[in-house]
């Protein structure tokens, strides 16, 4: 009659060492006396003692640590620091000898650990650079994006931090909670080079921008108040541009750059560690910027409810809370709204700059990090399983050492020491590989992951790598070590080679480990499958255009400053491209499909009165004749725009005398404005687009602006109404895309030599770019899941191989006694597939829990979708079964007498 083992273990674990033997003996004694009377009551009593005493014992331990133990003769000798170190050194030597004896095991272990540690360290450097590290600016927590909120306008929430200049000016005047507020607007610049002109992305910023950020120049000066009216266009450039375009020449200050008519003067260079660019400057500046120059608001009067074309960045004064600033901004907004004719409510919103910049990537990155860690854990568990096997194989070795006086704790420490040595070796290799893995991760990453420029290995990453290495060593070794620690030397000695069956304890531990691997693999597979289904659903979305056999070129016309010059160029461009050999249709648009919503204006049906909240808005696209044919958007009714629609005669003197223009509506627009009316009945009807009268001449099929949202309402306006500064020319041809790309570039260059062409791509790539994020997530997760599945299968293989080898005699006996091979298969399969099945079910439960965190990353697939939940555990079971069969086949097929004769 022994007390409950777990309860006793709890007591042993919690009791201070000098009290432990007395306490346990006393309790054993009392338990024995009680058990004679009533065993069940005695067990309950013992549990009560263990649980009730746990707090007291813990407290006692802490008190003793503070006061020191009572000096008395009966205390155990404790190992002091010196003997501990000496023993550890001995352990390390022992481990090293053990690896030398089995180099293959050591190499495989170190390599798999290196893989896991390398991958997780690389992933951590991305997490660190993107999510954890603060902006590289003084007091970054005070930097806020300030936005407007119009809760009554449907869809306005998609346009956070698109601000109106009137609001910005009012905030700057009145919001004393901010030490400075700056407005930002995207900008482009054409840099003539020896060959093709280069297009630079930049930003127009109010001249206090760098004061708000608290940045100092590396060279020259930053922007100042008078720059706003300066016709020489003072410009601050980044360190990157300074190095790439000006060879880091300090004489660049004062130099005039750009093409005639748009020149700027370089006045300063930003420091090399200035990385505030991309989403940190709000939604309008999505990528890296090369220059900053002074923002000039248009001269006309600033209206409250239009022109949401700026982002405002502010710095809170020290000690001012977000809530206080927001309350004041809301009050200012309410005052502004009262001055406007629309009866709309206007509020403000605030977001710390970094939070805004990373909010889209946060979930994705943690998901990927979780995936990497799961793989690492599986690596550990796998090695833990191997380590148990090794421990089991070395039982005689242990037994002899234990008999010679080695304490079980000491042996356990050696096993732990071995795995920590493995972990460290793996870590050294892994951290070395992490740099390479990081490069691969960055190369694969879609462009919309923010702050990637700040991702690099630093001491955080190094510390993480070291910590992970030690942790993997501990995790790998802990289970075998615990098994040894509680093992009794007598048990060791009893376990002789004469045993016929496998060692039960080690088998059970390994089954647990296999179960854990199966569970983790299932989770990874489910997540990968969910992302895969979501990805394929996205790809299956109709885009609304024909992507085959067509190439698109982006052309930047900023160097042509007047509308007339651009109009003349655009007039020639379609013709020049259309004349290329093999080109069957050519046309251009101000914005291609799948590149998001842009240029949103209000539209009215004449005579229809709507409230401000019901005001319809449309995406405006400026297109050339032939664009619909070139990109393959079918016309549902009516006709394409045509050069014949161009107004003839002198330009009108005012809007009132202007002749009506023409317009092509997308189906979604037609449905929005005239629900239920046949498209052909809409031709000839009039509309007011931002106060300009237009006549509907055609209805085009819908195209998507993004794959994950329904087609927006789009209207197509002939290009001469605005002469856009940036277009995409589409050429459809019979030739292959790569041949066409070169000719297309050449043709555009001949017509518009000053226009940079930053991108020429097959239309198919539009879709690829639109799903880049999903593809990235899916690719990485599939990789992780495959590695996990492979490792889990290897784990099963090793388990079965070992157990079949150990049970050779038992199996042989069974065969001689008449067992059929199907009976043997049942034993072996049951032993290894049962834990896999249990693990897979547990993994499924974990995946269901994790699915809720995943929901926002998924498109048209529920985290509980059977399409993902069913195949994952099935795949794990199938992989395990295959591994099991492969592993057990030879053992079971062997002739029994071989095994029996071995004795």
């Amino acid at each position: 009659m022994t007390p409950p083992r777990l309860a006793r273990r709890i007591l042993a674990w919690l009791a201070p060492p000098d009290v432990r033997p007395w306490l346990l003996d006393d309790l054993d004694d009392a338990f024995g006396r009680r058990a004679v009377v009533d065993i069940r009551r005695a067990r309950r009593w013992y549990w009560r003692q263990a649980l009730g005493g746990s707090l007291t014992l813990t407290a006692m331990r802490f008190r003793r640590r503070a006061l020191g133990a009572i000096p008395a003769n009966h205390l155990e000798d404790r190992m002091n620091g010196f003997t501990f170190l000496a023993a550890s050194a001995q352990d390390a030597r022992h481990s090293w000898r053990a690896f030398r004896r089995q180099p293959l095991y050591g190499a495989a272990a170190v390599l798999s650990l290196a893989l896991g540690i390398g991958a997780s360290t690389a992933m951590f450097s991305v997490i660190d650079g993107v999510l954890l590290r603060p902006l590289n600016l003084p007091a970054p927590g005070q930097l806020m994006l300030v936005g407007e909120r119009l809760p009554e306008i449907p869809g306005a929430e998609k346009f956070r931090f698109f601000d109106n200049p009137a609001a910005f000016l009012a905030w700057r005047r009145e919001a004393s909670e901010f030490s400075g507020l700056a407005a930002i607007q995207p900008a482009g610049f054409t840099m003539p080079t020896g060959g093709a002109p280069q297009f630079l992305h930049g930003a127009h910023v109010s001249t206090n921008f760098f004061d708000v950020l608290a940045v100092r120049p590396a060279l020259g000066r930053l922007l100042a108040g008078p720059d706003e009216g300066d016709t020489t266009r003072p410009m601050v450039i980044t360190d990157r541009l300074w190095r790439t375009a000006f060879d880091a020449d300090p004489g660049v200050i004062g130099r005039r750059i750009g093409v005639p008519g748009t020149e700027a003067t370089v006045v300063g260079v930003l420091p090399a560690d200035f990385h505030v660019e991309g989403k940190e400057l709000g939604p309008m500046i999505p990528g890296p910027t090369d220059f900053f120059d002074a923002l000039k608001f248009p001269k006309r009067e600033q209206q409250v409810f239009s022109d949401f074309n700026y982002t405002v960045l502010g710095r809170l004064r020290p000690g001012v809370t977000e809530a206080a600033a927001l309350a004041h901004l809301d009050a200012i907004q309410a005052d502004l709204a009262r001055t406007a004719p629309q009866k709309l409510h206007l509020y403000a919103e605030l977001s710390p700059v970094r939070d805004y910049a990373v909010h889209g990537a946060r979930q994705e990155l943690w998901l990927l990090f979780g995936g990497v860690l799961a793989v690492l854990l599986i690596v550990c568990v796998n090695l833990g399983g191997l380590s148990i096997t090794r421990a089991a194989d070395r039982r005689r070795d242990w037994a002899i050492r234990a008999a010679l006086g080695a304490a079980p704790g000491r042996l356990a420490r050696q096993v732990l020491g071995e795995s920590v040595v493995l972990g460290c070796l793996g870590g050294v290799l892994g951290i070395a590989c992490a740099t390479g893995a990081l490069k691969a991760l960055l190369a694969l990453a879609p462009a919309d992951v923010p702050r990637l420029a700040e991702v690099h290995a630093n001491w955080h990453v190094f510390a993480f790598g070291v910590a992970v290495s030690l942790a993997t060593g501990l995790v790998t070794g802990i289970i075998p070590a615990l098994r040894l620690r509680r093992a009794d030397p007598h048990e060791f000695l009893k376990a002789t080679a004469a045993a016929t069956t496998a060692d039960r304890g080690s088998l059970r531990s390994r089954q647990v480990l296999i179960g854990v691997q199966a569970a983790l693999s299932t989770v990874l597979l489910v997540v990968a499958a969910l992302l895969g289904v979501s990805f394929s659903r996205l790809l299956a979305q109709p885009t609304g255009f024909d992507a085959s056999h067509a190439v698109a070129a982006d052309v930047m016309l900023g160097a042509y400053t007047t509308e007339n010059a651009r109009d003349a160029l655009l007039r020639q461009l379609s013709g020049a491209v259309g004349a290329l050999p093999g080109v069957t249709a050519a046309g251009f648009t101000s914005q291609l499909p799948l590149r998001g919503e842009a240029w949103i204006d209000s539209i009215d049906v004449p005579g229809r009165v709507v409230t401000a909240a019901e005001q319809p808005h449309v995406n405006v696209r400026f297109v050339s004749p032939g664009y619909f044919t070139a990109i393959g958007i079918p016309l549902v009714a009516g006709r394409d725009v045509s050069e014949r629609d161009r107004p003839s005669g002198p330009p009108p003197t005012s809007a009132a005398t202007e002749p009506p223009g023409i317009i092509v509506l997308s189906r979604a627009t037609a449905q929005m404005l005239w629900p239920g009316v046949q498209p052909s009945d809409l031709l000839g009807r009039g509309l007011d687009l931002e106060g300009h009268r237009v006549t509907v001449v055609g209805i085009a099929a819908d195209t998507r602006a993004t794959l994950d949202a329904p087609a927006p309402a789009i209207v197509y306006v002939p290009y001469w109404e605005d002469a856009p500064g940036k277009i995409s020319i589409v050429a459809r041809s019979t030739a292959s895309g790569s041949v066409l790309a070169g000719a297309l570039r050449e043709a555009i260059r001949n017509v518009a030599p000053l226009a940079p062409i930053p991108l020429v791509q097959p239309l198919e790539d539009l879709e690829g770019t639109a799903v880049a994020t999903q593809r990235y997530q899916f690719t990485l997760l599939v990789t992780f899941a495959s590695i996990a599945l492979l490792l889990a299968a290897m784990g099963v293989y090793a388990l079965v191989a070992h157990s079949v080898a150990k049970r050779r005699k038992e199996l042989a006996l069974r065969i001689t006694l008449g067992a059929r091979s199907s009976d043997l298969w049942r034993i072996i399969l049951g032993q290894s597939l049962l834990p896999v099945a249990v693990g897979a079910i547990a993994g499924l439960a974990m995946a269901l829990a994790a699915g809720r965190l995943l929901a926002t990353l998924l498109f048209e697939v529920s985290p509980t979708s059977p399409a993902a939940l069913v195949p994952a555990p099935a795949a794990v079971l199938a992989a395990a079964a295959i591994a099991c069969v492969l592993s057990a086949r030879s053992g079971i097929a062997a002739q029994p007498w071989g095994a029996l004769r071995d004795e």
């Binding site: 003996d25 006393d26 746990s54």
Partner: protein, 106 residues
Amino acid sequence: MRYRLSRLDLLALLALARLGNEAYGVAVCEDIDAVTGREASVAAVYASLDRLERAGLVRGWQSEPRPERGGRTRRHFVLTAAGRAALLDERTLAAKMWRGVTLPGN
């Protein structure tokens, strides 16, 4: 500073006084159980004895191995002179406080 006895300390001291040379952890605990009618935690009694030993009120000693096969030694406790004095103090104090007290319903 003088050690302040907790209620469990007091019960443990009294049990030691009653048990004499036969006092060890579980015995003290069972004595308390028997008198109070409630189950005391052995760990708590050990902690109490530990505190009392630190305060010099009890002394721990190791018994001879028990006269049975594989019999182990036990850790016994006895009251020290200071422990006896503390108990007497407690009794005197309690007696003084009770003097002249009548409770309603008694």
